[in-house]
Amino acid sequence: MASATRSDLCDADEALIRELYPSLHRFAAAVCPSEVEPDDLLQEALYQVLRRGGLGDIPYPGAYLRRTVSNLLAKHWRSASRRRRAWSRTGATEPTQPEYPSDVADLLQLQPRARAVLYMRAIEGRPFTEIAEVLGCTEVAARGLEARARRKLRSVLEEEAHDATA
């Protein structure tokens, strides 16, 4: 069992972080909003887990960390909404976000969990059973999420096309 509170990384944890970093960073990069650095998000997720125990205590640390990233983003999404409302009432301009090509910007309009399911499905080719495990839902719910995410993306792109031709 893990120690009560960690004060340092053990060699096994460090090795595991190095092994998981490339795939976890890509996942974080795909799902996090533009104002959040994927490395920061990944660091927070790892810190939340490591402060209470070693990664070796977790049967599937990669999946567990993806789930942690996803949960952190759900919380961030709420805070960001509240902050946007507050900014709108200042009369001030919210700090500008990095600009991306339109198709990437379209993806960023999707909620993090929608991007997560699209990324795990389209890029990582994971089965819905595994995606469901990461997102903490049933396989049916994961399929539903993906369908809704694709529908939303299509709607955003159609709106853009309509605006461009108007």
Binding site: R6, D8, D39, R52, Y100, R148
Partner: protein
């Protein structure tokens, strides 16, 4: 148009990667930093990330002891802050701020389960409590109200609401980001442009004064008043700009209370009361909200004003702990309850609902209820909780993250778990 996988790959490629060495260094520093504060009697003494049932008991006992030992600290903190440096240009508040504090609550664990509500809702479900009615909506504009044990669906709005107010047997109002709506002859209608034209997007909230029927709308930085004939700007221009009005509630006596935050200076959060005579907000006391946990206010169906504050004793700042504060609006007596959730498995959400004299909140898949003396803990299963609403009859309704789009009722089996 490019393929989805190409666009996703492009998105990933454009994000900076500092590399595992940088990450490991940062983690080492953070873990070493936390090691310096673990001796403090706060909630960092859990031993695993997956054994809630085993550590909950000792943890809550520890938290209770910590609360008793640290009872003076939150009071000092709550009373701290500069009351006058950025005070409003308005009369001094009539309420007093003398605090009293309870000791930490006793805890009981009750068995429970979830039952689906007879509602068909989509994503982004929200709740709001207005008078004796609990409103629920989704991002597609479906709206329903709950009162006296019955859900009643309303016509669908053209857009997802930001807030809904009113009661089932009276006028019902809703704000979407761009419009103020009211229910008339069984359908949602907006006010004529010549009346509502002054409202500036984004609209942030709506409240209905049950006694007078006056509708209060948060629009941009200001408060607007609709009396059935005229829409007028109720707050003086700029009176809420020093501290941004983030939330309004109308008490049973018609008093409008506001929680004011400032994204630049979160420590300047204030509880404020709107003075109709001077059309200005009167600062009542500092709240001490943080970026992670802004203060929030609620008027219960019983007319009581409750405030949720961050937990000042949590070091490092921990949004899973909070202080519930009750302001007796008649006497000005200010009572605080220090409530600790016991730390989070991974991440906590920050929604807290007051129902009459009870507070209900959740973390991950657990629900907590505090009635002023006893804290009850429920683990109903069904998935990770996502949102929470409490009916005036005390019924607790929740939504489940990812798992489904439904609303579920918490059914308490009333069997203490040993």
């Amino acid at each position: 148009m490019r393929r989805l996988d190409e666009a996703l790959s492009d998105l990933v490629a454009k994000r900076r990667a500092a590399g595992p060495d940088h990450l490991i260094d940062a983690l080492r520093r953070r873990l070493a930093g936390e090691a310096e504060v673990v001796a403090l009697p706060v909630r960092h003494d859990m031993d695993t990330i997956r054994t809630r049932s085993r550590w909950r008991g000792p943890l809550i006992a520890t938290a209770a002891l910590a609360a008793a030992l640290l009872i003076a600290l939150p009071l000092l903190w709550l009373e701290g802050g500069d009351e006058t440096s950025r005070a409003d240009q308005a009369p001094a508040p009539t309420t007093t701020t003398a605090p009293t504090t309870t000791v930490a609550p006793t805890t009981t664990v009750l068995s429970s389960h979830l039952e689906p509500a007879p509602l068909q809702l989509g994503d982004e479900i929200g709740f709001s409590q207005s008078g004796d009615t609990l409103w629920v909506w989704d991002g597609d504009g479906r709206v329903a109200g709950y009162r006296d044990g019955v859900w009643q669906a309303l016509p669908q709005l053209a857009d997802g609401p930001v807030d809904v107010a009113g009661t089932m047997d009276g006028p019902v109002w809703a704000v979407t980001r761009w419009n103020l709506w009211h229910l008339e002859d069984g359908d949602w209608r907006t006010l004529p442009e010549e009346v509502a034209g002054d409202l500036e997007p984004e609209l942030g909230g709506v409240e209905v004064d049950r006694a007078t029927g006056i509708v209060w709308v948060l629009s941009g930085a200001d408060l607007y008043r609709w009396d059935g004939v005229e829409m007028s700007q109720a707050s003086q221009a700029g009176s809420s700009r020093e501290g941004i009005l983030d939330q309004i509630v109308v008490a049973g006596d018609g008093t409008i209370w506001g929680a004011r935050g400032n994204p630049y200076f979160p420590w300047e959060d204030r509880l404020a009361r709107f003075d109709e005579g001077t059309s200005a907000w009167v600062s009542v006391r500092p709240l001490g909200g943080t970026k992670d946990l802004p203060a929030s206010i609620t008027i219960t169906p019983g007319g009581n004003l409750w405030v949720r504050l961050p937990d000042p004793a949590a070091l490092p700042p921990d949004p899973t702990g909070f202080v519930g504060a009750y302001l007796d609006t008649a006497t000005g007596e200010w009572t605080t309850y220090r409530l600790s959730l016991g730390g989070g498995d991974v991440v906590a959400d920050d929604e807290v609902i007051w129902a009459d004299d009870e507070v209900v909140w959740w973390q991950q898949s657990d629900l907590f209820r505090f009635d002023g003396e006893t804290m009850a803990v429920f683990s109903p299963g069904g998935g990770m909780l996502d949102n929470l609403g409490v009916g005036s009859d005390g019924t607790v309704w929740v939504t489940i993250r990812y798992e489904s789009n439904g609303v579920y009722r918490l059914v308490i089996d009333e069997e203490p778990i040993e």
